[in-house]
């Protein structure tokens, strides 16, 4: 299921970055490069979730899909370099305290 979520996001991202947020099904399949049955499953699921619209041979990102991609983009930007406060320690290490060494410095 997790793999599916990754594929879904990837598919939406590809659509988002193409002109008019639209691609032909065949092109989209080539860019996503997964087995055809997986590709169709993902398309049908996303269509059911109203994140994309299938119009003949064209697959188009819906407004909802657009929003989702933008939200995901923002979410990933924030999380990369931002260490939540609760993981930062205020006190410095004292001599002989236990600590987890940084692997690259060993």
């Amino acid at each position: 299921m997790k793999k599916n979520i990754f594929l879904k996001n990837e598919l939406l991202r590809i659509l988002f970055s193409s002109s008019n947020h639209t691609l032909q099904a065949f092109t989209l399949n080539k860019r996503l490069s997964v087995a055809p049955n997986v590709f169709f499953d993902v398309i049908f699921q996303l269509e059911k979730e109203e994140l994309l619209v299938v119009d003949g041979v064209f697959i188009k990102l819906s407004n909802l899909g657009e929003k989702k991609v933008l939200l995901d983009l923002n979410a990933s930007k924030n999380s990369k370099n931002n260490i939540p406060k609760k993981f930062l320690s205020e006190s410095k290490l004292k001599v002989n305290d236990l600590y987890i060494p940084k692997r690259s410095l060993l």
């Binding site: 065949f26 399949n29 055809p36 049955n37 590709f39 169709f40 049908f44 003949g56 041979v57």
Partner: protein
């Protein structure tokens, strides 16, 4: 199938949107259209058949069942003198018994009670014998049930056989009603011509190729279908592949989560290729009673 051509991709997408029941079956659909079919003519023939295929969802099936229950309750027979009998001929799992079991609940919903159920048609005389000792000899009503009628010959034989069995035992001739969920047009006509009280709740086309194509094209299309069937195993466990469906019925129907009838084109459900490889089939049927 690992590589998808542009044409294949577009036609699968088109078909799946036209017929939503195909959506979870794109894999089998692609195998059928682009591996089993070698020419465009063959693929078009399959697409024409899929276009006519009647897909019955669980929801529709259940509504036919409640129609059937209502019909039994309102056709003027008394439950105390009625036997609801599965069309099944032996004790193996069978559609007739499935309908009989489903009816149990439907009939109780509408408070139609006191009837007896028999899960093998040939056990009816025995059931009547027990009935006679407690209730005394009288004319009984027999309601034969099943979910699908193909050619109708089974129904006709069952009715004759029951009459024969009752006659042999010297029991009074029962009133026999046949009620099924789904019938083909020819099945209905054949049964009606035998003067049997017959009710059904959904009708499907049979002899499909004759119905879709112009008369001069029919033989061409049948040969095309036979050429497709030549790739399949000609028999399985000594049962011969029913070319164009049992008795050449040429039916296209599928009932969600139920066994596909053998009157359906075998190209849609026959599970083995001629080299005994297992096929990825669009519709499913237990091959033991192929």
């Amino acid at each position: 199938m690992d590589k998808l051509t542009r044409k294949a991709c577009e036609s699968v997408l088109h078909l799946a949107f036209k017929y939503p029941w195909l959506k979870p079956k794109t894999d089998a659909l692609m195998t059928l259209l682009f591996e089993d079919c070698e020419t465009d003519d063959q693929a078009q023939l399959i697409i024409d058949i899929l276009d006519q295929l009647k897909y019955i969802t669980m929801h529709e099936y259940n509504s036919y069942l409640s129609d059937l229950a209502l019909d039994i309750a309102t056709c003027g027979i008394e439950p105390e003198s009625s036997f609801i009998v599965a069309m099944s001929a032996d004790s193996k799992a069978d559609s007739g018994q499935s309908v009989l079991y489903d009816l149990k609940n439907e009939l109780s919903k509408i408070e139609w009670k006191g009837y007896r159920s028999v899960n093998r048609y040939d056990q009816t005389p025995k059931a009547y014998k027990e009935f006679k000792t407690s209730k005394g000899a009288q004319t009984i009503n027999i309601v034969l049930v099943d979910n699908f009628v193909g050619s109708g010959s089974t129904v006709i034989n069952r009715v004759k056989r029951i009459e024969e069995l009752f006659n042999q035992s010297g029991f009074p001739k029962p009133n026999i009603y046949v009620k099924v969920l789904i019938s083909t047009i020819s099945g209905k006509d054949n049964i009606n011509s035998e003067d049997i009280d017959f009710a059904f709740f959904s009708l499907v086309n049979d002899k499909l190729l004759e119905r879709i194509y112009e008369s001069d094209q029919v033989e061409v299309k049948k040969d095309l279908m036979r050429s497709l069937e030549s790739k399949l195993a000609p028999s399985y466990n000594e049962r011969v592949l029913p070319s164009l469906g049992y008795g050449e019925s040429q039916v296209a129907i599928s009932i969600e989560n139920k066994n596909t009838p053998n009157n359906v084109f075998p190209i849609l459900w026959w599970k083995y290729y001629s080299d005994q490889r297992v096929r990825n089939v669009l519709l499913h049927r237990a091959m033991d009673d192929a």
